[in-house]
């Protein structure tokens, strides 16, 4: 009994500070926001509190909100898939093909861009992608007379900028789970006659699922809520649900609608996670 009491105190003492902190600075404010999303008006100015569902109704009655939400999901999917296609092989080469000091150095190089400012990086892309910019000039100097490359203010620019921002997450998570795969498993498969491709497909990939899934979540979720990257890079194409939410807070003080849209987005994210969970659960446990 005394041991049990001590254990309880230890748990409370250890988790207490972190969860108290999270409660005060995340969950309480979010509860307040949830409450507002059912109010007619935001927290400022003089008015009565009045319960309403109209902000949630708006999402279901206004096509453009649904279209833009869909657009955001598409953006999240595209960025996640591209990060996966680029990040997984890179992580594989790093984890399984490069040894010792070089690996450590390259690993540092890959995570280092995290420490530069996201806004400035996004802005740099506009200098790279615009006609007459770095990319265009480089292509022109190698192939004089080639058609001018103009990727600025386009959907592609948004995708490129976001992939650039989030790719290190995918490389990181994949690297960690690839590194955990025992080399003897790969040798076992080779001794059984599997080619490199078969090993990749049937051994490495399934065992790296936790890393891939973690990377996908860490990328997909913030990307669908992103707003300044599309705004700065997309021109007229850079309109997504994130920019609409942002404008509810910054252009008009329509916090209830902004909050409602955010919670709808959160619900969609949770739904996607819930749907993919049974598939992932099995994979997560074995590895």
């Amino acid at each position: 009994m005394r041991a049990e009491t001590r254990r309880r105190w230890a748990i409370a003492g250890l988790t207490g500070p972190a969860y108290l902190w999270l409660t005060l600075t995340i969950f309480l404010p979010l509860s307040a926001m949830l409450w507002f999303s059912f109010q007619r008006k935001g927290p400022f100015g003089r008015h009565e509190t009045e319960f309403t569902l109209k902000h949630y109704e708006a999402f279901f009655t206004k096509d453009y909100l649904q279209d833009l939400t869909w657009r955001s999901l598409e953006m999240g999917l595209q960025v996640t898939v591209i990060c996966l296609i680029l990040g997984f092989p890179a992580a594989y080469v790093l984890a399984k093909r490069i040894k010792g000091r070089w690996r450590e150095a390259l690993f540092l190089l890959i995570v280092l861009p995290f420490w530069s400012n996201a806004l400035v990086r996004i802005f740099s892309w506009t200098v790279v992608l615009r006609p007459g910019g770095v990319l265009d000039s480089a292509v022109q100097s190698v192939f004089p007379g080639a058609p001018s490359i103009d990727l600025a203010d386009s959907w592609s620019a948004v995708i490129i900028g976001l992939v650039h921002s989030y790719l290190p997450y995918m490389i990181l998570t994949c690297y960690l789970s690839l590194q955990a795969i025992d080399d003897s498993l790969i040798e076992a498969a080779r001794s059984l006659g599997a080619s490199a491709l078969t090993i990749l497909w049937r051994i490495v990939l399934p065992l790296a699922i936790p890393g891939l899934a973690a990377g996908a979540v860490l990328i997909f979720v913030p990307v669908i809520g992103s707003f300044f990257e599309p705004k700065l890079l997309g021109g007229t194409q850079g309109v997504v649900i994130g920019t609409v939410i942002e404008e509810q807070f910054t252009v008009v003080s329509n916090w209830p609608l902004g909050g409602a849209l955010s919670f709808i987005l959160l619900a969609i994210v949770l739904l996607i996670l819930a749907v993919s969970y049974p598939f992932l659960k099995d994979r997560m446990r074995t590895a």
């Binding site: 748990i11 500070p17 080469v93 995290f114 955990a180 959160l266």
Partner: protein
């Protein structure tokens, strides 16, 4: 001849792999290189062709606003890293070592701060802090940054926790160590790579945190990302590139120092 081709193939694949990795690095560093170079470009409008100039660095030396903001950023990031790493590691240790009711819920609760757009959390914090009298300022920014860093710390340290069982602590206990001694002398050193990785995450989350700072920055004081955002909206000059370049090189130094002190990223 056939044996020759067998011998060459894996090397060829290796070469391809390395070339691919090199391309990824080029992609990751292209905008950063452009950013650094433009800090040395004469034109205020980022016009090409390139003309070398150090005038933006000279201008920076006189730009108190940007320098103060940088100082604030570093200060908050360091404080955030210390607090978030310490209390996050404590929580991760408890979640990893004990099985108790509510544990799953606690783990699930780590996801909202990551999944909900920071914009929403930022405005929500602003309202609550305003109502409760916490107000805006470096202290409330710190409150916000720690909250956003905590989930990352708990998840990263938790992953490290999962890589070893309680046997090590049991072994320490059998040798006469108290739980506290076992933690300091055994668990903590084993957890170290995870803790270092987590603290770097915490530093990055805070140092690059724009949205929360934007809402919680008090009048007259500001942090680097907020300054940069204002600059982008109103008169973006290569001075911003200059300060970003300095920041990148300083953080590269910090990272390398960390890497030397720990096995972060190396063999497990």
């Amino acid at each position: 001849m056939q044996t020759m081709s067998h011998r060459l193939l894996p090397r060829f694949a290796d070469g391809m792999g390395r070339a691919f990795l090199a391309l990824i690095l080029v992609f990751l560093y292209l905008p950063i290189a452009v950013l650094a170079l433009m800090g040395f470009n004469e034109s205020v409008h980022y016009a090409l062709p390139f003309e070398f100039s150090t005038k933006w660095y000279e201008a920076l030396a006189g730009n108190d606003r940007l320098l103060t903001a940088s100082f604030n950023s570093v200060w908050i990031a360091v404080a955030n890293t210390v607090i978030a790493t310490v209390i996050g590691t404590m929580a991760a240790f408890a979640l990893g070592r004990f099985r108790f009711r509510g544990r799953t819920v606690m783990q699930l609760l780590l996801f909202p701060p990551i999944t909900i757009p920071w914009l929403i959390i930022g405005t929500a914090m602003l309202v609550l802090f305003f109502w409760t009298g916490v107000g805006r300022g470096l202290h409330s920014m710190l409150l916000g940054h720690v909250a956003l860093s905590l989930p990352y710390v708990i998840i990263v340290v938790g992953a490290r926790m999962a890589s070893f069982g309680p046997e090590l602590e049991e072994a320490a206990a059998s040798l006469g160590a108290t739980p506290v001694q076992a933690f300091w002398r055994v668990s903590l050193p084993v957890l170290m790579p995870g803790i270092v990785a987590a603290s770097l995450f915490a530093f990055a989350v805070s140092f690059d945190q724009f949205v929360i700072s934007y809402f919680l920055a008090p009048p007259g004081t500001s942090v680097l990302p907020v300054e940069i955002f204002s600059a982008i909206r109103k008169g973006f000059t290569p001075e911003v590139n200059a300060i970003s370049t300095i920041v990148i090189f300083v953080s590269m130094g910090i990272m390398l120092a960390f890497a030397r002190l720990s096995k972060f990223g190396g063999e497990r």
